[in-house]
């Protein structure tokens, strides 16, 4: 790793101030950023750790029933504390990485990084979540802008994520056997006004909504409703773990499994 300083502010205001330095970078749980630094793929002058900020941690319920999760909340905490309110989301959090990774990695860190194979982007997009930063609120539909690309500005910090709670939801992950990241992961959420389907791991453009499946499942919430649909392999990722056609096929299979799990 190149050398850098670490600051551990205890308030959002102090963190935002520290991040004004051009080469400063926010550090969440570090489960992606630290390996990146070890490979010398990043060279920040300072890391601003967000893990000491109490006001960015924890799970609570908003007045409208949405589950609100502080940006610095770990996956393990979400798995435990969101289970009663939003089991689909808690189930997703409970299967990210491994137990030690879940005790460090955070929801804000995952969403800020927007790895095309990460789980949380599927939950946020599939729930129509609101990403709340130190300056504004961003709808999930506007937030994800392609592989590792988000609507976040330099120095902007995800302080909270607000997930509207669906009637039913499930996340199905087909794991890449070596990395255990999602080769394809599908989050299905059934709301009173329709079904949302978000797919991670598959596309060159990062997480996306499968609108044809949303329409079909909104009319008939069963795996059978997907039978006539096809997924284009055009923009799917090609690597040694799977061809675009294979990933396209998995999108439909995993969507069906998610629906079957809760239908």
């Amino acid at each position: 790793m190149y050398a850098f300083d670490i600051e551990r502010p205890s308030t959002i205001a102090d963190a935002v101030k520290a991040l004004k330095d051009e080469d400063a970078q926010a550090l969440g749980g570090g489960q992606t950023l630290i390996p990146t630094l070890k490979q010398r793929l990043a060279m920040p002058s300072a890391l601003i750790s967000l893990t000491g900020i109490g006001e960015m941690k924890g799970v609570c319920l908003a007045d409208d029933g949405a589950v609100c999760i502080g940006g610095a909340t770990t996956h393990a905490t979400v798995a435990k504390e969101a289970a009663a309110h939003y089991p689909g989301l808690a189930g997703l959090a409970a299967n990210i990485g491994d137990p030690a990774v879940r005790n460090r990695g955070t929801v804000g860190g995952s969403l800020a990084n927007n790895d095309p194979s990460a789980c949380y982007p599927a939950a946020a997009l599939g729930s129509g979540a609101t990403i709340i930063t130190n300056t504004r609120e961003i709808a999930a539909d506007d937030y994800f802008q392609g592989m590792f690309e988000t609507a976040l500005e330099e120095g902007e910090v995800i302080t909270e994520v607000r997930f509207p709670v669906p009637e039913k939801s499930h996340y199905q992950k087909f794991v890449q056997p070596a990395s255990r990241f999602a080769l394809v992961g599908v989050f299905v959420a059934k709301y009173a006004d329709g079904v949302r389907v978000a797919v991670t791991g598959a596309s060159e453009n990062g997480v996306f909504r499968w609108s044809e499946a949303e329409a079909a499942l909104s009319a008939d919430f069963s795996a059978a409703a997907l039978e006539g649909l096809t997924v284009s392999a055009g923009e799917m990722i090609a690597d040694l773990h799977g061809s675009p056609e294979y990933r396209a096929h998995l999108v439909k299979v995993m969507t069906g499994r998610a629906v079957t799990a809760v239908a």
């Binding site: 790793m1 300083d5 630290i34 390996p35 750790s49 893990t51 137990p99 030690a100 005790n103 460090r104």
Partner: protein, 161 residues
């Protein structure tokens, strides 16, 4: 350099570290606690699992500065007060849960975290919990068996001696 102070295995320790000093390096190089092993240094293998404020974490994937003020437990603090092996360590010995032993510190620390959370796990739960701990010798069967035995469950029906 930054000054850090933390409790490690019940003792207060201090040191001066760089921002980039990993917790695993602080333990091994500064405190000379070399029981925390570095197998991969990429967060895959779990040989460096320690407890920070009671939670299992990979010491190679957090900075020492982030543990400032924390209560840290490593494999060196796991034995009983009289120096004898604790229940989990003894079960690893009794059930041949190790061969070369390189992964064992991380396995024992993960097992301790699991049993604290879930005192009588099923075999499947043990295997799932060990997802982030890699052993290249044993094929895992006897590690799983040792952890099941440490939880007080009958392991006579579990295969593989």
């Amino acid at each position: 350099m930054a000054s850090v102070t933390m409790t490690v295995n019940g003792k207060s320790v201090s040191g001066d570290v760089e921002g980039r000093t990993l917790m695993s390096d602080f333990l091994r190089n500064d405190l000379r606690l070399t029981g925390t092993h570095i197998g991969c240094d990429t967060s895959q293998c779990g040989a460096c699992v320690i407890h920070v404020n009671g939670e299992a974490v990979k010491a190679c994937t957090m900075f020492a500065v982030e543990a400032d003020g924390a209560d840290v437990a490593t494999i060196e603090g796991q034995a009983n007060a009289d120096g004898s092996l604790n229940v989990i360590q003894q079960a690893f010995q009794d059930h041949h849960g190790l061969q070369c032993g390189f992964c064992t510190p991380g396995m024992v620390m993960s097992a301790a975290a699991l049993l604290k959370e879930n005192p009588t796990p099923t075999e499947r739960e043990v295997r799932e919990y060990l997802e982030g701990n890699i052993c290249r010798c044993t094929g895992y069967h006897n590690i799983v068996k040792a952890i099941m035995a440490a939880s007080g469950q009958d392991v006579s029906a579990i295969a593989a001696e």
